[in-house]
Symmetry: C2
Subunit: 197 residues, 2 copies
């Protein structure tokens, strides 16, 4: 592959810059809220002028899109590692897995809003950015099926219970654990419902 290193340098340099921009965007989202991100602020955080961002992203939505993919990819990696040391007991595995997702969402509200809610007007993730979230969901389906839970409705009920605890925690007790401490109990409630041992 002669000559390809030069392309790699350029590509890598570009990727580094994109990564720095995304990092600045996350900082801005955590500081002022996801919807309150401004290109001027993000640019200033990386020492650029606002229009220069357009050399790396086609639009503000493209930044949101990359952030969406990044967040789900990050959680996908966490779950991939977690999967190898998951308890054999269905209930214990349910509790460990749901706790991981709960903590991931609750520790960064802006990230959760982007991942799980549709609060950016007219923003729909691109297929590439959507892919890692599909991987996470398919892994959940597979894990549940190994415990004998195969009905779509059963999986939907599971996601609803976890999503509800996360949303209530963030909306009504941010920084606390009023709903977080209900998580294990909620998983037992679900396990009873779908007949898990």
């Amino acid at each position: 592959m002669l000559g390809s290193p030069i392309v790699d340098w350029q590509t890598k340099r570009r990727e580094v810059a994109r990564s720095e921009i995304l990092s600045a965007a996350w900082d801005a989202a955590r500081d002022n809220g996801l919807a309150a991100i401004t290109l001027r602020d993000v640019a200033a955080r990386v020492g650029m002028q606002a229009p220069s961002l357009y050399s790396y992203f086609d639009s503000k939505h493209a930044i949101y899109d990359a952030m969406f993919g990044q967040a789900w990819s990050e959680y996908d990696e966490i779950e991939k590692e977690l999967e190898e040391r998951l308890p054999a007991s269905p209930r214990a595995a349910l509790k460990v897995g749901s706790r991981a997702f709960f903590e991931f969402c609750v520790t960064d509200p802006a990230r959760h809003q982007l991942m799980n809610l549709r609060l950016i007007p007219n923003f729909t993730p691109s297929p590439e950015s959507y892919a890692p979230s599909v991987r996470v969901f398919e892994r959940l389906r597979r894990q549940l099926s190994e415990f004998g839970v195969t009905e779509d409705a059963d999986v939907d009920l599971m996601t609803a219970v976890i999503a509800g605890l996360i949303d209530q925690q963030l909306a009504n007790d941010p920084g606390g654990d009023r709903w977080g401490r209900l998580l294990d109990r909620a998983m037992d409630m679900y396990a009873d419902q779908v007949g898990l041992p």
Copy 2:
């Protein structure tokens, strides 16, 4: 009360205008999304110029605030009527009540975002607008306590289950009923958990 009719005319006229503005704001929210409301658009819908809105509301946030109070007041009225013909059976009552809230939220996503999520940056409802939502929550507490459910954690679990179904329905199957048809089952699951007959 001589002379008071004049005051009433003025007050009523003002209230009518405020009501029309709010109605236009709801239309705009449903058309373009809650966060995408613009004062110029709202004003145009009621045949005004944008600055004229400041004669009726102190700021855009004041409009959101009034919308928040209006939405919860409306649901408070619905529940007040519903309460008189609630089934005696705890499980049936749970299903009827949760269905009412679910439908109210799902039929108007913009309203749900305003009522239950915190997606408008720096917006916190005023005490007056917050009051009707407290009334709704206290009614739920009272109804549950009549069934013997008195623990705060039990009430929190209930709100989380319903909130989760609503959020998943709106985020992943808007316009459908993929999570809506799980509502009765979820209420049975909850009733089992808290030991309701």
